[in-house]
Structure formats: C-alpha cells, structure tokens
C-alpha cells in the first residue's frame, strides 16, 4: 500500500541522497502550531468539568473530541519529523511517512501551479503551506504535493525558484509585476448580497442547539431564553415572525460581510513578469494562487440574483491543471463581488482583449420550447408546495385549503416570471476566439471560453428534450470544466458546435434537406 511511486522517474536519483542539494525539513515551529491546536479542546474540556462536574455524557463527547485532536496532532507531528524535500536542477523531490513511506519526484516543467496558504495558527508562528499542483487528472488526493508548515521566507523563495526554473521563458516585455486589480473597500457594499450568510445563521443555530443538547442542556430552559419569553411572550405571532425574520436577515448580512472581509482583505491581482497571474487575498487565512497565462482558457462572470439587481458581478478563471472541483471553485476566484463594469474590465485585461468577450452583445436566444421547459419545471416545484397543504386541508381544516390556493395564486406568477427570466438569460454566441454561453436566473453565469480550449463535446438529451427536439451540448475543457449550452434546438446546437470548433463534430453530423 505504500506510495512508492514512479520508479521510472525515481531512477535519476536512486544513487543515494548524497547527490544534489541538501534535503530540507519542515519548520520545527510546526510543533508549536500542533500544540496550540490542542489548547482549544483542552480548555473546553477543563471548563466543562469545572462548571458541570463529571457529567458522563459530556465527558464522553468531549473526551472523544480531545482524543481526535490528539490523534490529529500526533499525525501532523509525525509528518513534521518524517518529511524531507529538496529541489534539484529539474525536479522536486519529497519524502514522507513513517509506516507508509512515500517518495515523490516531479519534473519541474510538469508543475502547473504553486499555491501558498497560511491558516491563522500557522501565521501566528510565521509559517505557511505550499501546495504544488501537477494537473494530473487521475491522481488520488493522497498524492498531492504539499509542504504543510515551512517558514514564510522559505515558501517565498521556493515558489520563486519553482516558477522560475519551470522556465516558461515567456518574455512579456514588462520589467515588474503589473497590478490588474486591487481591493477597493467600496465593494464592501456588495458583501451582504451573497445569500448564504442567511443560511449560515441557520447552520450556526442548529450547531449550537446540537452542542447544548449533547451537553444535556435544554436551550429552551436557559435563563436568557426564559427572559426573552417572559418579556415578549405576549406579542402576536405575526410580529414575532417578522422580528425573527429581520434579525435573521441582519445577522445573515453581517456574517456575509464578515466572510467577505476575511476572504478578500488584502486582495491584489497582478500579472507577474513571467506572464502568470497571481491572486493574493485573505485576512485570517492568507492565500496566494498562481495561474499560468497559457493555462487560462477563459473567464466566467457570475451574477447571483441579488448581486445582479445591485449591478454587481464576480469573476472567476477557467483554467486547466488546477486541483479538484471543490478546491477549484475558491482557487479560481479572480475578483470579489465588484461592479459589473469592473469585472468586465478585469476580464478584458486578463484575456488581453480590448473588451471582455462576455460583454452583452446579442447572443442567440433559444427556441420557445426552452421557455416551456422552464415553466414546467417551475410548476413541478410549486406543485407539492400547494398540494401538501391542500391535501392536509381537505382532511383536517379549511384554513390550510385557503393557504393552498393563496400560495398557488402568488406562486404561479412568480414561477412564470422566474421562468421568463431564466429563458431570457439563455444564450450562446461566438466572439472571435471565444465561444460565449450564458444561463441561469438565481445565479446567472456568462462564460467566455477559448475555442481552441475545447477538448471534446458532450451532448445529453433527456426524454423530454428528445420529444421537444432540444439538446444540451457541453464543451469540455481541461480541468473540471464542462460548459453547457442548455436546451438548444438540435439543428442550432449542432451547427453552433461545428462552427465553434470546426471539423470535430462534422463527421458525425447528417444533413438532409428539410421537406
């Protein structure tokens, strides 16, 4: 089960560790980081024992928490003791593991990305983590190359060394790094418009309840809650609901804003001398992501509904050779939510075009069948929302029947409005070197993708699409991407694909005169 990898690649260094430069270790300060991680659960443990006495249930859950943290600390201390790394002329070598020894050796020119990330505890001790991406599609995550805990200075030097010796040798004709975009605190006004802040309020409440429940404390019996109940127990229900909703919205907006500040403080996007883009950001966790210009396949402009109403948008990169999908999302963010024009300006700058290809010039709209599909889908969501109170109402009380028909009366126009909005969003087109695709109502996304970045087509048709003569055609790109043109009629879709990437689909298309 060991990861003794790639004997073919390892042969170059098999004549012992004596050859080449010295092996380096992770920083010993990592030990302090590990110990500080233990402090939290230990303090919690002590506090609980001190305040509630030896409550068995609480002791067990906290005890297991402490043990888990101990194991984690043990593992990372082991990693500290066993990890060795070095950079020889043309490859990076990494050894680690005690029981499962692994040796990895990667040619420098295969390195696609070098990212830095420093968690708060790491930062406290001047440490940072360096992650090397090789863009392998099939490698399990256990084989990713990361140095978790080297000094900031070491990390900076190593990153420079790796990116330089990769020798892309692309003279950009610039002597220094050029800043493309920088944090502007006026953008903070868009922060509350990311909806998931509200979601996190519910998650937070749920978690708090669970923890209290585990510790055998009934939240409804707490003094604070009792107090609130006594004081406001007599207000009418609708008022209580309204106040709760307002509090949730305000708390949600506050959390969204805090998240925005944490994620985007110190934001700076620059074009480096060797022609790669570097994004630096983060307040507590500081990140640095590098995207090679030649791996940049396009950009995506995302406009979630609220942000769209406020005239904002955020930009992310479509680039090959990055890591897996969930990490990829946050890695690829190029800007925070910013004014639309600013997003488009950055896009144009990155792609070295005069104007962003995502700018709204007329995209080809889709056939009316796509609108029908959207309305049907919306009604399908609405149906159970109406049917459940209706059913219960007929069975139990007429109040619910009224709720049902009022829901339907309000719901149907909303569904139709949303469907129309979604339909208007649908569009596709070709702008010079780019194919441009737009879709979505809750989160409208406009993608501009280099036509020579398309490495295959995936066409899917559901049963209903086949009946309506529609198809969804997806352009796959290196990395995670599959960019779909949804619900386009068969002829239009196939012709578009053929036009975008000539000769790929042509041998498999049949044309017959319509008659």
């Amino acid at each position: 089960m060991s990861h003794d990898t790639e004997p073919r690649e390892a042969t170059g260094t098999s004549n012992g560790a004596a050859a080449g430069p010295e092996w380096s270790r992770l920083s010993p300060r990592l030990l302090l980081v590990n110990l500080s991680m233990l402090a939290g659960p230990l303090a919690l443990f002590a506090l609980t024992v001190a305040s509630t006495g030896a409550n068995l249930q609480a002791l067990i859950s906290l005890g297991s928490l402490v043990i888990t943290f101990l194991v984690v600390t043990g593992i990372s201390t082991m990693r500290l003791l066993t990890t060795r790394f070095r950079v020889t002329g043309d490859r990076v070598e990494l050894r680690s593991g005690l029981l499962f020894r692994s040796r990895r050796s990667v040619p420098v020119d295969r390195i696609r990305s070098v990212d830095l990330e420093a968690k708060p505890t790491h930062r406290l001790f001047g440490l940072t983590s360096l992650r090397i991406g090789t863009g392998e599609q099939s490698s399990p995550s256990s084989r990713k190359l990361s140095l978790d805990g080297i000094t900031r200075h070491q990390a900076r030097e190593l990153r420079r060394l790796l990116l330089d010796s990769r020798g892309s040798g692309r003279a950009t004709g610039q002597d220094e790094d050029v800043t493309i975009a920088e944090m502007d605190w006026a953008w903070l006004r868009y922060a509350p418009l990311t909806v998931w802040g509200v979601g996190s309020v519910f998650v937070g409440l749920g978690t708090a309840y669970r923890i209290l429940h585990e510790m055998k404390v009934d939240p409804l019996e707490l003094g604070v809650v009792k107090d609130i109940e006594d004081r406001f127990g007599s207000v009418p229900l609708w008022f209580g609901v309204l106040v709760a909703a307002v509090i949730t919205a305000v708390a949600g907006a506050a959390i969204s804003t805090a998240t925005f500040v944490d994620a985007w403080a110190n934001y700076r996007l620059e074009r480096e001398q060797d022609g790669s883009f570097r994004i630096r950001r983060g307040l507590l966790i500081s990140r640095s992501v590098t995207i090679e210009e030649r791996r940049l396949r396009g950009v995506e402009v995302a406009e979630p509904m609220l942000l769209r109403w406020a005239g904002g948008a955020s930009l992310s990169a479509i680039a090959g050779g990055l890591s897996n999908s969930s990490e990829n999302r946050s890695r690829c963010s190029l800007t925070p939510p910013v004014p639309r024009d600013e997003a488009l300006r950055v896009a144009a700058d990155l792609l070295a075009e005069e104007r962003s290809p995502t700018e709204l010039t007329a995209l080809v709209p889709h056939s009316r069948a796509a609108l029908r599909r959207r309305i049907n889908r919306g009604l399908l969501v609405l149906a159970p929302v109406v049917a459940i109170p209706l059913g219960l109402g007929l069975w139990l009380t007429p109040v619910l029947v009224h709720t049902a028909w009022i829901t339907a009366l309000v719901g149907i126009p909303v569904v139709i409005a949303l469907a129309n909005d979604a339909y208007r969003a649908l569009g596709h087109g070709i702008r010079d070197r780019y194919l441009v695709v737009r879709a979505g109502t809750f989160a409208r996304r406009t993608v501009a993708l280099q036509r020579d970045g398309v490495i295959g087509w995936t066409i899917t048709r559901s049963y209903f699409q086949r009946r309506n003569g529609l198809l969804t055609i997806g352009a796959t790109t290196a990395g995670v991407g599959c960019h779909k043109v949804r619900d386009v009629s068969v002829g239009v879709g196939l012709t578009y694909a053929e036009e975008a990437v000539p000769n790929l689909l042509a041998p498999f298309i049949e044309r017959s005169p319509r008659g």
């Binding site: 050779g321 295959g456 087509w457 048709r461 559901s462 599959c482 002829g491 012709t495 790929l504």
Partner: protein, 166 residues
C-alpha cells in the same frame, strides 16, 4: 434561416455486443432483487407479519422487474461507439442519453476495465480519459478482443500526435 437543412447527429457505427443485454440484465437483477427476496423470505418465515411483508414484497418487486425488463434492451438500442482517425464517438444511456466526442489528439490515457460480471459474458469496457474531468468517454459491453484492437488503435494514434493534450 427557416429553410436550413435538417441537421442531426448520426448514431455511431458500431453496436455493442448483444451479450451486453444479458450483462445489464444480470447487473440490474443484482441491484433490484435483493430487497424483494429479503421481504419474501421474511413473509414466509414470520406468519403474523405475512400480510405486511407480502405487500412489501410486491411493492418492491414490481418496479424492480420493470427496470430489469426495460433498461437492458433500451440501453442496447442506444449504446453505440465508433473510432475514426480523428476522434472517438460514443453514445450511451437510456432515459437520459449521452453522446460524447473526443478528438484523438486530446486523449491522455486509454484503459480497459473488466469487472467480474463483464468477464462472465466475455465483455470488456474501455475508458478514454482526457485532461477534463467531465470529458471521459466510456464504451462498455464490447467483445474483449474488439476492445484490445480499439485500445491498440487509440494508443498508436495518441502517441503519434504531439502536445500535452490540454
């Protein structure tokens, strides 16, 4: 614009093996039958609960049998594949159908995979991966000799094309 030619995707040239219907049927049986069998055994062995488990047996059996009856033949009508000197082209699915085209110049690896069931039917599957997570083409249920030839053809032409396939 209204009198353009009628454009459509032609199906790939080769069908999968007819034996694949047997393979899919067996596969769906392994998926659909265990639950009704458990209910059946329970209803026979616990007389007081016979009525309940009898109904559970019937309710879990009927959709399972329908799935077993419909899915394999439907799949057999859809699943097709083709390789040319430029591209791999494959169709798959039944209710949701999928057609994938990958140019040979973008292929990274070509693997064959034979699960125990496929081996039982003398079948083989080919997985063609590209630099994209979502661009993988799978051709399942072809004869293992055919699979070998296809892999050879693909490997040869992949090696002939330069570049790093991104």
């Amino acid at each position: 614009m209204n009198h353009i030619d009628d454009v459509r995707l032609r199906p790939p040239r080769n069908r999968v093996e007819a034996r694949a219907v047997g393979w899919w049927t067996l596969q769906s049986a392994l998926f659909a039958l265990p639950l009704p069998i458990v209910f059946g055994v329970l209803s026979l062995s616990i007389p007081p609960a016979r009525l309940f488990f009898g109904w559970a047996f019937a309710i879990s059996l009927v959709p399972g049998l329908a799935y077993m009856a419909v899915m394999p033949t439907w799949r057999y009508r859809v699943h097709r594949w083709e390789t040319t000197d430029e591209a791999v082209y494959a169709a798959s699915g039944w209710l949701w159908q999928q057609w994938r085209v990958v140019p040979l110049s973008r292929i990274q690896t070509v693997d064959t995979l034979r699960g125990p069931l496929q081996q039982l039917f003398g079948l083989s599957g080919i997985t063609v991966t590209t630099a994209s997570y979502s661009g993988t083409v799978k051709i399942k249920g072809i004869d293992h000799r055919t699979a070998r030839d296809v892999v050879e053809h693909l490997t040869k032409s992949t090696q002939a094309t330069p570049g790093d396939a991104t």
